[in-house]
Each structure stands twice: as structure tokens, then as C-alpha cells.
Symmetry: C2
Subunit: 429 residues, 2 copies
């Protein structure tokens, strides 16, 4: 099938998916978990082909580790599916109910978005997670995984599609894309695809955002900050700075810039330098920083660079106002943290920093769907509309307005014969 | 000021606006209502200049009527502001609260989107409504009204800006755009503008959607349907069809196509034709329709045409499935209604028709922010994300995640020293 045909089929399936009962969706999830276990040899064999090719291509050890999908990973994936089954059906929930007029009731009801296109990295477990999140939320889904995982993705998609259909899902609810050219074609199909979620490198996400009329949910940069306030506990500030930078440096919620209140700079900078030196972090500092500790000079470009590496830029600021201004100017509206004992300062920072995630006295690395308690995540969004920060099941839903009357016409209300009541209804009315 | 400068100022103001208290916002609203009354002579004089020019340009009577802004309209606008003041502050509401781990609490808190650009038609009351909705929701706003209302819009904007600033709103919270070139420039400023809401003609909205990277909330077409089911009460069906088409034919929620179940076509079509003939509606029908009543032949193009006029296309369908398929194929996902006494059919229709508003036994004309009880509306959205159907205050809000810890770092949880609790918190915890 061509990408156009796959997308048309997904659109048609999405209409049916929106009306599939919670019971059938849960049965499909259980069937998928069973099928993953039953097909384990096939799945692992396909993964081994991917791994062999990856080794031939001298792919790095961390990437190889992420690519590996063994019995343990299958068990994890099935556990994830089990936890999805336990959640109540998110579709068909009455969000508000209003009596507009006598006998005329309006319900705002949750429903799936439609067709979601997700482009993700080389972890094969992402395919299972994303497809089952879309299933539970009643969406059809088009998936494009990393090319390193081509063999296993094909097997996983087939297993999931068949198991889903066996349980009663409509044909076409899941489509697999395999090449970059497929993705390029998908980006033109705004008639059939309602939302694109790209995960991957900065350049890749930016390319997606600039080349489609389909709404895009995600983030390009993750330029996250830790601001150490004059009223900070300096031990905690050191721990938070080190964790934010080093706990996993290659990801979007790692800190790239440390802002330090000039009031405590002379005391704090040597402490944090010692701790970061231990981790092998390269420091690039502003002039004031360089007058206190030994650092490479930071240039203007450093403030807007996502290193994704053991590099940290440091700037001494005159106080919280300059910190907030710096973050709103150079940051990527992803995750920013303040370390302070002053509650009013923490509140000010969290209100005025225009980011999806604003933290006080906690590491930026907490910004993640699992840690936030959302279950699996489809991605992290720096959008200003729809969904912000880590996005779980809820971000895959929208609502429709259902109005139930008994022959009601507007003319009766326009000419004053009848009157609106606009009365909030209680659940079940 | 250039559009770039106005937009930069709005972005800077939006940061402050997000933290303005409900008390100050209400004081600003009250100040604006007072100022509108105090400046009534100036406002009405400016409107008279617009009206004089409009008459010179032979603008149609309905447009002239909409352009007129007199003491009654000022009183209406002030009443609208009074009702906004009565609403609780929609910003800063805790939507969910979770204890992630001991001493680590996560709050999902409502906040404004940022800078909203709204392009609206020639009604001067729209300027007051939109600017005060944005104010109440803590957004900065850029406004571009109809060119016919240029004089009054300038006066209204000045009065509202000054009154707002007097009450403590940050400079730059409201910017006025005056020309189409201003709008074109605004569309490039995705760095400063977070959402564009275009109201106006199909072509204009489509132009906006195709020429910006800023998210757009709105609708291009309003191709709405009434489907008369085999189990309909035919008297009610006639009333609903006539109201949906004729109560106000020039607007987006007026019906453009009538779908009729073949089971009742022979009985229903003559009835509805008689009623529509009385209103002077031109009928264009499919072959089956033409075999029952006297109509012009409909072509394929009619099914996807928004007439915005006293014209209605009619198609006889084999039943509810064909009706749903037709609507999902040719409709604009705006508002569609079924007339039926069969509850299961109504439910099926409302679940499977992929539109923002799905009605049973009620006129499509009910799809409107005021009638829905939302207060004023900023527009009607056929988007699949963020906000759908009539959009009031709520569509101008998003949320941010506030995490409050006490030196928490991820390393402790990654290596198992500490455990997540992921416990839902009650209000106020």
C-alpha cells in the first residue's frame, strides 16, 4: 500500500475507533500482550538481525543497548499494557453538561483526535508503547521508527495489527511507515492525519515543524536552566545542578545553563565546580564567573546552545529578575528550575518563567511522563496550545459537543418566544 | 511602532499578564467599562465617521447595521464586561495535584497561552469582547478589525489600553493592527505570537492557515448538514431544516445540505419543499430528490459548497450509514444534526460523525458560544486539537506543570535508593 492508501485507511478506521467500546479496546490490549509473548522467538530473531547490521555499521554501544529487545523487554512491554488495561476508558467522558433551555441538553464529551502520526527513535519498545496508548485513547496511528530497528518494527507492527483486528478493531487502525520518504509524504496528507508527534533530534523536529500543515506536538530544543538564588541551600543547589546536568546528559531535560545569583556566586561557584569537575563536565562561564573560578569563556551563542553533552554554561546574574529574563529570552520553554529557600521567590519564578515545566528545589530531570505519574508518554511538548510538558494519554484526546433536543429551533429564542436557561447539570442528568 | 515592535511588546507584557492577580484584572475590566461610558461621545463620533464613509462606499444595509455602535451597544458591551468580572479567575487553577515522592509535589496549573492575535469582522463590539476575554484569561492580544471600522477601533483600543494600564496592566498588553499588510507581517512573527484566531471569509481564513507557522484556531468552511432519519418526526424535521437553513443563512452554522432517508423521502420532501419555498430557498437535489419534488439538479460540487445563501442541496440516502459517510466526506467537521425518534440512531450519528458539534433533534444554528452558555466567544474551531466548536474563555488557556521539591534529584530514584509514590493529592494539599 502507498502512504496515501495507508493514511486513507487510517482515517476511515479512526471514525470506527472513536466508537469502539472500552471493553473491546481492553480485549485488544490483552490480545496484543498475549501475541507479543507468543511471537517472542520471531520478535527476538528480527531484533537480532537489526543488531547484527547495527554492529556491522559500528553503531555506538549506548545505541546498541537501546536497540536490544529481549525477553525482559517483552515482559516490560506487557506490564505496560497491563497498566493501560487497568485505566478507565478515557473516551466518552462527560466533561461538562448544561441545560441550554427546557428539553435541550448540551454535553461536552471526550473523544479521540483521529489519526496520529508518530515518528520515534530506535527503541523498539517505543512502538509498543505508542501504539497501545493510541489504541486506548481510540486513535488510529501511523508509526515510523528508527531505521536501525526496521526488522523488529515490521514484526512488532504485524503482531499488534493482527492481534488488534482479532479483538475487533477496524482494519487500518495501525499503519507502519518505513522510510524518510514515507514521512515526507505523510507530512503532505493533512486531509487524513490530525496530529504529528516527532521525537528525535533538534534538526529533525524542526524539519517536521517547517514542512507540514498538520499540527505538530513536541519540542525541538531542550535548553533547560537551573537558577541558584541568593537564598538557596548551597548543598542542595550543588546536588540539583549536578543531577540536572549529569544524570543523563544526552536528553532534552538535562540542564544546559546554570544561572547564579551574584550574592552567593563567590561561595557557590567553587563548590559546584568541584562537584562538576568530578563528573568531567566542561564549564563555560561569563566574565564574572571567570573571575571566581577557572572556566572557558562563554560566548553569546552558548546561552542558546543545547549541548546534550558534558558541557555546562554558567552565568552570574544580578538576581531573580535577570534570571527570569535570561530564561525567557534564551530558553526553549521546556523545563527550568530555581533553587531557593525563599517561597515568594520560588512562586515568582514559577509564575513568570514561561516554560512547560517550572520546578523549585528539584532537578530538571524529573520532567518526564513516567516520573510525572502519567504512565507512558508520547512525547514532551513545548507547544503553547493543546498539551504542554510530558504528554500521556490525555494529550491524545479532544472533545466534541453533543446537543440533544426535541425539535428545538433557534428562531424561538431569537424572537424571545422561548428563553435560554443555561443551567449546569449534575453528572448523569 | 512597527508590527515587530508591537509584537515584542505584547510578548513582554504577556509574561507579566500571566502573573496579574484576578483582583487587578477585574479592576481593569471595571475601569474599561467606566472608560467606555465616559468616552461615549468620542466613540460614537468616530463610529459616525466610519458610517459616513461606508455609506459613500455603498456598503450593504446589513453591514451598515453591524457597523453601527451607539449608546445601546456601549451598554451591551459594558454588560458583557460585568458578566466577565463575575466569573472566577480562570488562571492559576490547580487542575491536578500529585505527590510524586515524599516531599515532591507536582501541580498542573491553568495559565494563559501568551499572545493571541485575533482578526475579526467589522462589528466594533467584537473588539471590546475579544480584548476583555483575553484580559480576563491573562493573555496579551493583538487585534485587527474590519477596515470599515478603522476610526472607531482606534478610539476603542486607545480607551481600553489606557483604562487597563491605569488599573495596573503592563504596557503593551493590547496592540492594534490596522492593515492587511500588518496582518501579513504578524503571520511571520511566530517567535512572539502564540495563537492566531482569524474570523472572516473562507478564503481569508484559508490564507491565514496556509501562511503562518503560528497555530491557528478557527474554521474555514461551515458545511453543515441536517440528516432526516427514517424514524424522524417529520413536522419537527421540517422546522429544524428550515431553521438550520434560514434563521440566518449567511453564517457558518447554517445548513448547506439536507440528507433524507429514502424510507421517508416521498412523504418528507414535499413537506419540506413547501416550507422552504415560503422562505424563497433555491433547492438543488440529487436524481432521487428530483424524482419526487421539483428541484434544480445538484452536481458533485454542490456537496462541498458553502452557499452562505438561500440555497440548499438535498440528497436522498439509503439510511444512516450513508448519511454519516457523506457528512464525514463532504462536511467541514463543524456542526451536523440528525432528526430521529430512534435514540440508538441518534447516538450512532453523534459518535460516528467526526464534527465539533453533533446534534440530535435540534437546529445547527445552536452552535454558538452564547447559546452554548460559554459567554462571549472568540470563534468557532474545527481544529482537532486544543479547542473544538464554539471557543470561550477556556480556549484561551493552557497549563504549566509546577514541581515543588526540597533538593530532590533523579539519581536517587534511578538507582532505587528512593521510590516514587505517585499519589493523587486532594485540593489544597
Amino acid at each position: 500500500m502507498s502512504i496515501l492508501e495507508i493514511s486513507k485507511a487510517a482515517k476511515a478506521a479512526s471514525i470506527q475507533m472513536a466508537a469502539v467500546s472500552g471493553k473491546v479496546k481492553n480485549a485488544a490490549l490483552a490480545e496484543i500482550a498475549d501475541a507479543l509473548k507468543q511471537h517472542r522467538f520471531e520478535i527476538i530473531a528480527a531484533n537480532e538481525k537489526d543488531l547484527a547490521l547495527a554492529r556491522q555499521n559500528n553503531i555506538s554501544a549506548p545505541l546498541l543497548k537501546r536497540l536490544k529487545f529481549d525477553d525482559g523487554k517483552i515482559a516490560d512491554a506487557c506490564a505496560g499494557i497491563e497498566s493501560l488495561i487497568k485505566l478507565s476508558d478515557p473516551v466518552g467522558k462527560t466533561l461538562t453538561a448544561t441545560e441550554l433551555a427546557k428539553g435541550l441538553k448540551l454535553y461536552k464529551v471526550s473523544c479521540p483526535i483521529g489519526v496520529i502520526g508518530v515518528i520515534f527513535e530506535s527503541r523498539p519498545d517505543a512502538l509498543v508503547q505508542i501504539s497501545t496508548l493510541c489504541l486506548k485513547s481510540g486513535n488510529a496511528v501511523l508509526l515510523k521508527g528508527g531505521s536501525e530497528a526496521a526488522q523488529i518494527n515490521r514484526v512488532l507492527a504485524d503482531v499488534i495489527i493482527e492481534a488488534g483486528e482479532r479483538a475487533g478493531l477496524p482494519k487500518g487502525w495501525l499503519g507502519l511507515l518505513e522510510t524518510r520518504a514515507d514521512v515526507a509524504e505523510m507530512l503532505n496528507l493533512d486531509e487524513y492525519i490530525d496530529l504529528v508527534v516527532p521525537r528525535g533530534s533538534n534538526e529533525f523536529v524542526r524539519y517536521i515543524m517547517n514542512n507540514t500543515n498538520i499540527p505538530v506536538l513536541g519540542h525541538a530544543d531542550g535548553i533547560c536552566h537551573v537558577y541558584v538564588d541568593g537564598a538557596a541551600n548551597l548543598d542542595k543547589a550543588v546536588k540539583i545542578a549536578v543531577d540536572s546536568k549529569c544524570q543523563y546528559a544526552a536528553v532534552c531535560n538535562a540542564a544546559e545553563t546554570l544561572l547564579v545569583d551574584e550574592k552567593i556566586a563567590a561561595e557557590f561557584l567553587p563548590l559546584v565546580k568541584a562537584a562538576l569537575d568530578e563528573q568531567g563536565v566542561e564549564l563555560r562561564g561569563c566574565r564574572k564567573t571567570a573571575s571566581i573560578i577557572d572556566v572557558k569563556p562563554a560566548t553569546e551563542k552558548d546561552w542558546s546552545t543545547e549541548y546534550l553533552d558534558y558541557i555546562l554554561s554558567i552565568k552570574v546574574v544580578s538576581g531573580i529578575d535577570e534570571a527570569i529574563e535570561h530564561i525567557n529570552k534564551y530558553g526553549s520553554h521546556h523545563t527550568d528550575a530555581i533553587v531557593t529557600k525563599n517561597k515568594a521567590a520560588a512562586e515568582k519564578f514559577m509564575n513568570l518563567v514561561d516554560s512547560a515545566d517550572v520546578f523549585s528545589n528539584a532537578s530538571t530531570r524529573f520532567s518526564d511522563g513516567y516520573r510525572f505519574g502519567l504512565g507512558a508518554e508520547v512525547g514532551i511538548s513545548t507547544n503553547k496550545i493543546h498539551a504542554r510538558g510530558p504528554v500521556g494519554l490525555e494529550g491524545l484526546l479532544i472533545y466534541k459537543w453533543k446537543l440533544i433536543g426535541n425539535g428545538h429551533i433557534v428562531a424561538d429564542y431569537a424572537n424571545g418566544r422561548k428563553k435560554f436557561t443555561h443551567k449546569k447539570l449534575k453528572r448523569g442528568e
